[in-house]
């Protein structure tokens, strides 16, 4: 039995956060229904020419059923209201104010379902001047202070990364909130509203830098990969273009192993490198030497010889490295799923194991409206002719009726 088999989730999700949360709840057995509208698509359905064939969307929206419905019509709203009564958890990360304009803000929804657990996750969170500002992950790393220190000290300005962090950390916090609130409801019978700010998640993950401000009045500046308690500590260039190996040497035992792996060259015997303090003090010169050693070697060779000597080292990996990673292969960390449009593709597996439970299951992302008809029949007890009439009237969407619905943003 999967742990959340009896849990029902309604997802008004777009982009990264709520879709990722629903994906994981689905992996744990929850029945997750994604509410989708042809005329107001999940942003991730619009970043390529075919809304049903987008890698990121099809990753984030696995383990869900898609209910395609026009939320601007009274009939569409009525059907969704019935799903609101059915569900245990409602997750939403539309722009602040959108759920209210659709009539599905917490105030309204709790009248339909007083015990509902309702989790809102806006970029900046509710109750302040920025509550209805649109926000994508890369904006939130910027607005949370995280980006200001995600850089090398000599960068002209910080660029962080083109990943959507902190999106995929915020999504996990949303799940934790939903499951904890469900436990509270189980004990007390009370539902509730949780207002999560994605910027605050980012701040929580770098809290020590905020305490450095509130305790020490210091505004943290970028320190790159340097550490105050390890040296060498950084990514060192290896053979090939843009190939790097991360190395972290914490203590003198590791330092001696590190030196011997390099063949104990003369410079390592210089007394100024003998202690951690000395290595930290002369870190520029130290790094210069290490770079000289690594730059002639394959990144994997550097990792292997250092690991064999008990020194922490790891290649700065790309996707093909992940697929070839012996440990991830051993763990079975990727899954192949067959998607009706995209075909057989690889996705991340479930990165935890639970005793006594079957391996968590992953199903391919739905086409827009793929489960509209089955949800109408099985959950809403609707007759076949009514379903077909609503599809014809464009109040309900099926894959066939929404074929022309997607427009790519790339123009």
């Amino acid at each position: 039995m999967l742990p959340l088999e009896d849990v029902k989730v309604l997802s008004f999700g777009t982009g990264g956060v709520v879709p990722d949360a629903g994906k994981i709840l689905g992996e744990l057995g929850a029945d997750v229904i994604k509410i989708e509208s042809k005329d107001n698509l999940d942003f991730m359905r619009t970043i390529g020419p075919d809304m049903n064939n987008i890698a990121q969307f099809n990753e984030a929206n696995r383990n869900k059923r898609s209910f395609g419905v026009n939320l601007k019509t009274e009939k569409g709203k009525e059907l969704v209201s019935r799903l609101v009564k059915w569900t245990d958890i409602l997750l939403e990360n539309f722009r602040g104010g959108v759920m209210k304009s659709l009539g599905f803000d917490y105030g309204n929804v709790r009248k339909l379902n007083p015990q509902i657990v309702y989790v809102s996750s806006q970029g900046f969170g509710g109750g302040g001047p920025f509550s209805d500002f649109q926000a994508y992950g890369p904006m939130l790393s910027a607005a949370s202070g995280m980006l200001s220190i995600w850089a090398q000290p000599d960068d002209p300005y910080p660029v962080g990364s083109n990943s959507p962090l902190p999106d995929h950390m915020a999504s996990k916090h949303a799940i934790i909130a939903a499951l904890a609130a469900l436990d509270y409801r189980h004990r007390t019978g009370k539902g509730q509203y949780i207002d999560m700010a994605q910027t605050e998640v980012a701040v929580s993950l770098i809290g020590e830098h905020y305490l450095d401000y509130t305790y020490n009045n210091r505004i943290a500046k970028p320190t790159g990969n340097r550490s105050t308690y390890a040296a060498p500590h950084g990514c060192y260039p290896c053979k090939g273009a843009d190939e790097w190996c991360a190395i972290a040497v914490f203590n003198d035992v590791e330092w001696r192993s590190f030196s011997s792996v390099m063949g104990d060259p003369a410079w390592t015997r210089d007394p100024k490198f003998a202690s951690l303090q000395g290595r930290l003090k002369n870190v520029e010169e130290l790094d210069q030497h290490v770079r000289q050693w690594t730059s002639g070697l394959d990144a994997y060779v550097v990792m292997e010889v250092l690991q064999a000597a008990g020194v922490a080292a790891g290649v700065v990996q790309r996707a093909p490295d992940t697929l070839a990673d012996p440990q991830l292969k051993w763990l079975g960390s990727t899954v192949e799923l067959d998607h009706p449009v995209s075909g057989k593709r690889l996705y991340p597996g479930v990165p935890f194991r639970m005793s006594g439970a079957p391996p968590a299951q992953s199903t391919a992302a739905p086409l827009l409206g793929q489960h509209t008809e089955e949800i109408c029949r099985d959950l809403l007890n609707m007759a076949e002719d009514e379903i077909q009439r609503l599809v014809k009237e464009d109040i309900l969407h099926t894959p066939a009726s929404s074929k022309d619905g997607g427009t790519s943003i790339l123009g």
Partner: protein, 404 residues
Amino acid sequence: MTTKEGALSPYRVLDLADSKGAYCTKLFADLGADVIKVEAPQGDPGRRMPPFAGDVPHHEKSLYFLHRNAGKRGVTLDFETPDGRDILIGLVARADVLVENSPPDYMAGLGLDYAALRQVNPRLIMASITDFGRSGPYKDRKSSNLVDFAMSGVMITSGYPGKEPSLCPGTPAYDAASLYANISILAAMHMRDAIGEGRFIDVSVHETSRLGLYPWIIPNYSYAINPGGPPPSSESRLGASVYPVYPCKDGLIRVIALTPRQWDALVRVLGSPEVLQMPDWRSFLYRIGNASDLYALMLEFTQKYTMIELFEAGKREGVPIAPILNIQDFYNSPHTKARQFFVEVEHPVAGKAEYPGPPYKWTESPARIARPAPCLGEHNEEVYCQELGFSRDDLVALRGAGVI
């Protein structure tokens, strides 16, 4: 201060973890669980992590430790000793959850693996966080936050092309493991009443950070493989061109203009200068291809405005623009103040300061920091005497023997 109970108030969590699991149990503490941090008598190595309050290295003043252990109680215990082992078993009998991050086989070696502990408490949920996994070819490898992050797939997307990739601040790889551990524990708690027993949960930093921090890398690559086609290109470092950063009057902004409509809005935000109205610029791919020319053009216009002016104009016109706030800027932002995100916490040694609160507001069961991080062994008496029935003399003896 409200007196309502938190969402997880009835539960007790034993926290045997160091930095790899500290965030997992902090989230439990924020939601009201009674988290007891069990440290070796010499203290969690996290106590030595900089920065320090007052810039003085001191085991009660690590700001990394204080943040991630706020809300927990703390006891000292060497459970490698026979007496210590018995005490731990006594604690396990009274706990709902145990979180630990020792190397594979360590707990089994002490007779404290899940098979043994469930004999004491069949309802116990135990989560073990390892670096690379409990088995497999990398099982005994060494790791660190930097090394884990390097292998996570996020790092190669950071920084400037050709330059050394940059470490994300914080300990994102550890926290990915912490978050997955927390989720699986809550899932196991959910079914515990129905099945009448706990579960063992196995999480690694390597796998959770690789699959959890940026899961799109794998499908992005897989979707680009087409039979007979060229090999797909993998991630590259596009931060500066996809999400360009521009200086403005009082700082920096990051712009997310992907669609032609968003680009048009951006041009309006900047006062509709003619040079930006060339139709080619409306194409996202053209802008990526000519990123440095565009950057030179944009500077003249972005520098006329402040961060907040551009942030607000972006909202009005329909293009996401974010101010790049530093730590002080975020702390002082009117939005942060309106949400009362920072909360005052007084620590007996480090002193009083405002801490980032839990990142969410709850209408029924409040999330809050109920107490500062524990001093080393602060709750020994409270836990060992009041709950396990030891006398003060027993504690003196146990301390003398190095057990606590």
